[in-house]
Point group: C3
Chain length 150, copies 3
């Protein structure tokens, strides 16, 4: 099954590719590696603001992480023209806006990891950690390295 068929089966319509909020690009490519910029969680097109352990609970955090992953697939589409050229999600780094007490960054991040696994198959390498604050106050930011075939 192609990645497109998997998206369809999951009921996911790719959002429009997100626009960088500064002097950078959404992605760059070097050889077979595609580097995606940190993507900020959005809800209905607006920054998904909040902090885990305070205003955002675990299930909302996972939903935000999954939404970031969908946005990143839209960027992969913009970068490749055909996401079936993505041969592997190599690595993600997940930054979770966290109170000093919140220690479930890995569970929040599964929201993104599971969508990538569902669409592309296989598992990626990953780091997840808690940060003091994120641009625009969003609850989750994720960056990604993918391998592309051509």
């Amino acid at each position: 099954m192609s990645a497109y068929e998997k998206l369809k089966k999951l009921g996911i319509d790719l959002p429009p590719a997100s626009v960088p909020v500064g002097a950078y690009a959404s992605f760059t490519r070097s050889g077979h590696l595609l580097f995606l910029s940190g993507h900020l969680a959005k809800k209905a097109g607006q920054p998904w603001v909040g902090q885990l352990g305070e205003t955002i609970d675990l299930s909302e955090g996972q939903a935000a992480a999954r939404a970031v992953a969908a946005d990143m697939i839209a960027t992969l589409q913009a970068a490749t023209g055909d996401i079936d050229r993505v041969t592997r999600i190599v690595k993600i780094t997940s930054l979770v806006n966290s109170t000093p007490e919140f220690t479930d960054q890995h569970i929040v991040t599964n929201g993104a990891s599971e969508l990538f696994a569902e669409v592309f198959g296989g598992l990626h390498a990953r780091s997840a950690f808690g940060v003091a604050q994120l641009p625009m106050g969003v609850c989750v930011e994720i960056e990604l390295i993918a391998e592309v075939s051509t």
Copy 2:
């Protein structure tokens, strides 16, 4: 001297390769680059919980970072089948669970860097910084990129 002989000389028995705590893999490979997921500090197999500047002092932090490095060498073994195929530790990123006052993340991280240098020779690129919180409350998390020959 092979990396195995260096480990033996240092009195280090590689621990069992660690198991991811979520929907991801301990490592992925793309071309000659091996990407290792963030590895959490463990002590006697349990999360090495605490914060630098609060419950963990500098020398314990360095010991935790060194323990993470040993775990990562175990993952390199699992990934390559032969750590002498590791031609270079390219880069590590060290996340140190820190109070707002603690500013010796680079000294903590030397605990890992020195072990990598002892075992593989050469020096790697590195970033080290303080984070608000880490998965399961551990004191140090490190991720790594290595270059492998075959």
Copy 3:
């Protein structure tokens, strides 16, 4: 125009390449990728200490980020012998020492991104986020991946 001519036009004399503050190297290379270690903000050769949202305002933060970028170009010079061999700034990660309330990490980071764009042309991928604390208490730390031609 060469990168050197652009630096001259901008009135930037490259500082001496910075020296790592631990058991690591300023850069490593694997294939066509050059990995630069996290570079700490400096002012007149000393750590540029402070926190965004507290002791450092937005314009000073941008100046610090721009200073880090100049230091990184000096490291690129040391790594390549000729910065015109840098074919692309692939990715930067910007760690901004932030109070829990500060949410303009992306605007701070533009201070670095704009200098890279001015000198090398094109845009890079990027992540920017707020961290609890940085080595030596500096306000900004940036790491970088560049692509080199030979």
